[in-house]
């Protein structure tokens, strides 16, 4: 009897979702599109540095060096410019760097080979407003320019790309963590607050089904939807994008299910705070976005943060999820290696659910 009441609520919620094809389409497609889109578009590799050249005398040595830059896939040659144009070229964004060859470039390079003291042969002026390009590009360009110098104080440098083809999905765990959290929290909080707003919640609450079951019933279809998303993403990644899926898939699935529950509990908690759909949406879609993107280690390494923010980041569930998925998916570690994260996520889920239920019951009285 009790179970039947519960199931009829689940059916009602499912119908809500099915009757609104637009929302269903969004909810089904959005996470998949975003995970795939961001997962494969986002990268911090510096792969395209545009270089302009200033050379008072285009000697054979200079031309050879310029040809080396042009031939390198990491650089795009933007041609020769006048020495007075350096600032203009950089400020208008036509080039990321200007290589300024000394007038006696050849002589200085020869002196260098012989271990004699000579002045600088090339000055690289970088647009350091993009620190990433500047620091990576500088190292790389230095090594390209000195590639055929056998000796000297300057080290030979190189960046090793994709030793294991990892970078193409380096961001995927983070993106999954972000999208699942936001979408699940948003869906549940809004669907509950919506009923509060339209007054249908009152009708449900006077029914013989216990309030908690009503709320649980609201979460079931969204949980199933999320499971569908969870299954689609790796499948598409494998088939469409041909990403080698290594690692413990079952482990990742278990971990993600736990995380989904946590996100739904979060949504429930938000719904107890918000009286209006708009508020629920702003909290779950916007206020949650910042910590989830910024403090979870998704894009910015936690180890670099000041101490206090490192402590704060421990409270962001996404941080633990991302760490665990990275271990399983990218480092290929066994499930036993993520027990700590699983324990933390489970504890968080329990606390959030308890808090949400308590708050929910308080509101009823």
């Amino acid at each position: 009897m009790i179970m039947r009441g519960f199931m009829s609520f689940v059916r009602k919620e499912t119908l809500h979702i099915l009757r609104d094809p637009r929302t269903m389409l969004i909810v089904l497609l959005m996470p998949v599109i975003q995970v795939l889109l961001f997962g494969f578009a986002m990268s911090t590799e510096v792969t395209d540095v545009r270089v302009a050249v200033v050379a008072p005398h285009r000697t054979e040595g200079v031309r050879q060096a310029v040809r080396r830059i042009a031939a390198n896939p990491c650089f795009t040659l933007r041609g020769y410019v006048d020495g007075t144009q350096i600032d203009a070229v950089l400020r208008s964004g036509e080039a990321d760097a200007v290589a300024v060859f000394a007038a006696d470039y050849d002589r200085r390079m020869n002196a260098l080979e012989l271990g004699e003291a000579a002045g600088e042969a090339v000055q690289l002026v970088f647009d350091a407003s993009n620190t990433n390009t500047a620091s990576a590009g500088a190292g790389y360009l230095q090594s390209v320019l000195t590639a055929d110098v056998r000796s000297g104080p300057l080290p030979e440098t190189r960046l090793l790309y994709n030793p294991q083809m990892k970078s193409s999905y380096n961001f995927v765990p983070g993106i999954m963590g972000m999208i699942f959290m936001l979408i699940c929290a948003m869906m549940t909080s809004v669907s509950i607050v919506r009923e509060k707003e339209t007054g249908t919640m009152e009708v449900l609450l006077v029914s013989p089904v216990r309030p908690l079951r009503i709320v649980a019933a609201k979460m079931v279809p969204y949980f199933l939807l999320s499971c569908f998303n969870l299954a689609t993403i790796p499948l598409l990644a494998r088939c469409v994008l041909e990403v080698p899926l290594s690692g413990n898939l079952a482990g990742i699935a278990c971990l993600s299910l736990l995380y989904l529950l946590l996100a739904l509990a979060f949504g429930l908690l938000i719904s107890t705070f918000a009286d209006k759909q708009a508020t629920a949406l702003l909290i779950s879609g916007m206020l949650l976005l910042m910590p989830v993107v910024m403090l979870s280690g998704l894009a910015f390494p936690i180890e670099n943060m000041p101490r206090i923010l490192r402590v704060v980041s421990c409270a962001v569930p996404t941080r633990w999820y991302i760490e665990a998925v990275r271990k399983l998916m990218i480092e290929g570690l066994p499930f036993a290696a993520v027990m700590k994260e699983v324990a933390i996520l489970a504890a968080m889920t329990a606390v959030l659910t308890a808090a949400a239920i308590r708050k929910f019951n308080d509101k009823l009285e």
């Binding site: 104080p153 030979e156 990892k166």
Partner: protein, 367 residues
């Protein structure tokens, strides 16, 4: 004009009376500007270094000691062969491999000799390349010291790097203009959309629709408050950037505000479009959320557009914030002028016109 004023008065009162919005508009930028820049520091510490020492001289030992002593590095071990060190890098145990060639000691003593080789993991380019830079500095320093010990002049580096516009490579400065854009994307996109669809849900829009209010004044009355909010938030954020982080725009304020105006127009137009095509708040929010996420993740705010694969780069051409991000960083850090960035400004202007025209056209008083 009168109608517009009356409607604006209404919007303002509703805004102030909302229990949530004024707090959001004030506190959100405050928290974002005060907290997030600390998150985005890229002063990388604890770079894991593996050394392959083929020289085994006192000079190479000195270099290794120096690396081990540095705060920036954690020495992960000395290896005999490059393969072993590379394996460590593959496993993630090391970020950078330093190969000291046989004869390093000789070169340090003054003779010509082979160069040290530094290989960094490019997957985390920031960490890899910064590690490389730090190591180069350490190496140059060691070499100069060694030469000085023997009374030799330090060798000049053949290639020197000058980092213009942000000489200390402060990553925070790169991110702060981007954070301002995030604020504008969220506040000027979400809020008008919510406001408009909120009127649809409560039915108040119908009462407005049977009045002679024109579509233009109604839409404008919805948008103008959020334009004001956008400018206020931007100004607040710029003040905070100046006071807290000592970052002021190198270029003109006019250039910043012009771009911001075009962008805020665009975003609020997008919000109105999303609301006009949806009947429930849930739909609007999901649609907005979809676009806001794409705007945030794909327009170069968090990871650079230049690092994206070709298809993604093409996609970014259709994202208005991409142009704004480029403009803000260039004006803020490089002091670029509107004339220098005219292509980006033009693109933003086109988006502003398109999105607002679409917004006004998609509002139907009659079904």
């Amino acid at each position: 004009m009168r109608t517009l004023r009356v409607l604006l008065d209404k919007e303002l009162r509703q805004f102030v009376r909302s229990p949530f919005l004024p707090k959001l508009v004030l506190l959100f930028p405050l928290v974002v500007m005060l907290v997030i820049p600390w998150v985005t520091t890229m002063d990388v510490r604890h770079i894991d270094v593996a050394v392959v020492d083929s020289d085994r001289s006192s000079a190479s030992e000195r270099l290794v000691r120096k690396i081990a002593a540095s705060d920036c590095f954690t020495l992960r071990g000395t290896f005999d062969r490059y393969d072993a060190a590379l394996a460590a890098l593959d496993e993630g145990a090391a970020d950078v491999v330093v190969e000291v060639p046989d004869g390093f000691g000789r070169s340090a003593a003054g003779g010509p000799a082979e160069r040290v080789r530094i290989s960094a993991n490019g997957v985390n380019a920031v960490k890899g390349s910064l590690g490389m830079q730090y190591l180069m500095q350490t190496l140059t320093q060691t070499l100069s010291e060694l030469r000085a010990d023997r009374g030799l002049q330090p060798l000049a580096e053949p290639v020197v790097v000058q980092n213009r516009y942000n000489p200390t490579l402060e990553y925070r400065f790169y991110m702060i203009p981007a954070l301002m854009i995030m604020l504008l994307i969220m506040l000027c996109g979400f809020l008008p959309a919510l406001n408009l669809v909120g009127e649809k849900e409560t039915g108040t829009i119908e009462q407005i629709n049977v009045t002679p209010v024109s579509r233009l004044s109604f839409t404008l009355a919805k948008l103008i408050p959020y334009w004001v909010v956008g400018f206020a938030v931007l100004t607040l954020a710029m003040l905070l950037a100046r006071i807290v982080y000592g970052l002021s725009p190198a270029g003109s304020l006019g250039a910043v505000y012009l771009a911001a105006a075009l962008f805020v127009f665009t975003m609020s137009g997008v919000g109105v479009i999303a609301a006009n095509y949806s009947s429930t708040m849930q739909q609007t929010m999901f649609v907005m959320f979809f676009f806001v996420m794409i705007f945030m993740m794909m327009s170069g705010l968090i990871t650079p557009v230049e690092s994206m694969p070709g298809w993604a780069k093409t996609l970014t051409r259709f994202l208005p914030p991409r142009y704004f991000v480029g403009i803000m960083r260039a004006v803020y850090l490089k002091g670029s002028t509107v004339a220098e960035l005219r292509a980006d400004y033009a693109a933003l202007a086109v988006f502003a016109v398109l999105s607002n025209a679409w917004a006004a056209a998609s509002y139907r008083k009659r079904s």
